[in-house]
Symmetry: C2
């Protein structure tokens, strides 16, 4: 799998960010808000796990475009897919796919994307972003909930008239429950379930939907078994209390397998098993948001496979490493009872699905999920050793046996990240004090050494 | 501009839809909801204004993927762009563009997409769909509104804490006003402003936002001048009444230049001039939704250019014919006061922007907007003549001097559309009884003859 031309190590030539980044950022800021630009990248010079900026600095990239590059920059298999006649056609002849699908559409889905379907999920709705996927999943949950209530009764005139006025009963007061510190996106539906930071939510009207506490586990896990189990029970009780007491029915629950933007917060398989049981008992749709956790990084194709659930998840949303987006679902009742209820002009992008299918090919044929599981074990062990040496710099190390989806708390994450970038490692943070590793699925044991060396240098520097 | 290999006329070989469409539709329905599929298309055989289905039937396409194909199937200029090294790189190395833009990003926007910026609009936020563009525009309006109120005061702890709970004042109760019969998309924000049909809105929770009546003009316009002017005054008074009496502040107004899904409803330039004046007087953001009307079909690049406004529109949203999406804006205060408030992982798709830039090249270099204005005059005149012959089939003909953005009412539009397709014309409807023409910008005078011949045959058949 290795990229033969991948650099052996990072190399930094200028201040970080360098003068060329500064110059382009200034120009960009005239037409778009460029305050968030960290580095301007020459993607044509970037390769595999390494990213090269316009100042000629090359970084080992374990952030990977906010966890969204799956199999490396300029991966040869993706280059081939991006030059295929199929993608050219998809780019220039973009259909209103719900009405006029192409002759390739069936194969792109049935023989393509459906290979990624989570266990028990037989159906799919394509989208273009994680936020859109979650919004669509919420709509499916609401329509499904009302269908249970309505049975075979037709829509009344009154329902239809009130829906047009944004009033109940046509536009009913129904809720999606999410968890404190979760991130599910920034559109109006998904943002009403996002609970990680004020910067996302301030000044934006939101639906009056509830949040439950997500377990705050203590580390190391083996030293806090009973305490953590009690914490999870407490959170599940909160879910039950909200369902029975909220001012309107809860039609769906959305949860991340690992709360990522919110600080890489984990919970046990038992927690999620019980959460599913609660949704089943109440006739509520369980939506597992695998936008960041999906596509292999946790050492399973889908992170929720770690839970060994007794029955399939209702809805699984995806984006990021898929390089396309949408939701898979298992329950036929989540397909709306009428045509055109879940519909839009483009419903995804066949060009992006072609890229996704090439990614799935690579993941399956090169066993990248299994390899990531193995590399993750080594990486975790090395970090645990480092944590023993720098206990004040690496705290609450988490992600054991979760592939390379590893994180730890550190006192001043922004200073560490800056230092790491000066040392040639592009790395991200989350929550308030967490460093999250999000390497690609082609991160190998050979990449651990430069990463760990940089941590060691940074920690000594900061000490 | 003509496609040399474009068919001279439609040709229909099977029942419509044909057996191959039926077969593929059935297979598709196993993995996705395929009830909405009308025809399965062989896009590789489609060319220019003509679309060919998998049964070998070739149609003149004046629906163009719900008004979203701008310059013809397999346009050579787009094929070239779709094979360029730039697009290959954009497809395989998709950045989190707000943090790590490519070295090409500046040119793609400043020398590319910004050429399409409406008069006075100096800035841009890219997106992936019309719904997303409108949601983002609403967020910009809400943040802008609160900024006016808050001045330079920092966010309070209480605001931040309440925002995290979806409660005021952090998550304030603010509204976007839209118009009856409008369509602005299907995500939770945009759907709360969509008011065209219950099928879009039923069972979906909505924000308690208000709607005003959109003028219902009588045709022919020259016979109802005073009546129509009064109707527009009445609607504007309704807007004023809502602004002063709604249960919460109205922070923005969204309006389509021509209500498209809602039935191709027009209003006069005076109406929109006065609407803008109202928003200015109240410090409200005016959002013009040009998702369907933008990019030339009305004989201006942007439909709102017909209004000759005294000052730029605050926000203009786009998608469809742009083959990418987003919003342009004119007021610097609509850029949020802090970084990361308007942000997401992908913020558009550079690959789709490269296609859009090739579309803009073609539109500008081949003067397609001016040509569409001219062809529209001829097309409208021919339809007016036909209306005189079939006054019960073509009613309230509208879109005079609006390019090819022409529509009329007809007693049974679905039967007419079915008949037209059997005659080799792919055409769309809107509202409850309206036939809408949405030909591409490469629709020429030579295409009028087969279209009009089919109408004539269909009308005699239906008579």
């Amino acid at each position: 799998m290795s990229f033969v031309s991948e650099p052996a190590a990072p190399s930094i030539r200028t201040a970080v960010p360098g003068p060329a980044t500064h110059r382009i950022k200034e120009d960009l800021d005239v037409v778009i808000d460029a305050r968030t630009v960290q580095m301007v990248i020459d993607y044509d010079k970037s390769i595999g796990n390494y990213i090269t900026d316009v100042d000629g600095n090359t970084y080992l990239d374990v952030y990977a475009q906010i966890a969204s590059i799956p199999i490396g920059y300029n991966n040869p298999a993706l280059l081939k897919a991006a030059k295929s006649p199929e993608i050219v056609s998809a780019l220039v002849n973009r259909p209103a796919v719900g009405n006029f699908p192409s002759h390739q559409w069936l194969a792109l889905l049935r023989e393509g994307l459906m290979r990624a379907a989570p266990p028990g999920c037989t159906q799919l709705f394509p989208a273009q972003s994680g936020s859109e996927a979650n919004d669509l999943a919420f709509k499916a949950a609401f329509m499904g909930y009302r269908r249970q209530q309505r049975g075979d009764n037709p829509w009344t005139e009154y329902e239809q008239a009130t829906a047009m006025k944004n009033q109940a009963p046509g536009s009913p007061d129904l809720a999606i429950l999410s968890f404190r510190n979760s991130f599910h996106g920034r559109s109006f539906g998904s943002l009403s379930t996002t609970r990680s930071k004020p910067i996302h939510k301030m000044d934006i009207p939101a639906f009056k939907w509830p949040q439950a506490t997500f377990p705050q586990l203590k580390y190391p896990l083996e030293a806090h078994i009973q305490e953590n189990a009690q914490e999870e029970v407490r959170c599940l009780q909160e879910v039950e209390t909200i369902i029975s007491s909220w001012h309107c029915p809860v039609a769906g629950i959305i949860v991340e397998p690992i709360q990522s933007e919110g600080g890489d917060n984990h919970a046990s398989p038992a927690f999620f098993q019980k959460l599913q049981a609660i949704t089943k008992a109440h006739g509520i749709t369980l939506i597992v948001d695998e936008v960041q956790t999906g596509f292999g990084a946790t050492g399973k194709f889908w992170a929720h496979e770690h839970w060994e659930l007794p029955s399939p998840v209702d809805i699984v949303t995806f984006s990021k490493k898929a390089q396309t987006a949408g939701y898979f679902f298992s329950d036929k009742n989540l397909r709306p009872d009428k045509a055109y209820r879940q519909f839009n002009t483009w419903m995804g992008d066949a060009a992006r699905i072609i890229i996704c299918n090439a990614i799935i090919d690579e993941i399956l044929s090169k066993k990248l999920v299994e390899k990531t599981a193995q590399v993750g074990i080594v990486l975790y062990d090395r970090l645990a050793t480092l944590a023993a040496k720098y206990p004040n710099r690496i705290q609450s190390l988490r992600g054991k046996n979760m592939g390379t989806y590893i994180a730890f708390d550190t006192p001043d994450s922004s200073t560490l990240l800056k230092k790491m970038r000066e040392l040639g490692i592009n790395i991200g943070s989350c929550g308030v004090q967490t460093v999250r590793l999000r390497p690609m699925l082609i991160f190998e044991e050979s990449h651990i050494a430069p990463l760990l060396a940089a941590f060691e240098t940074a920690f000594s520097h900061l000490a």
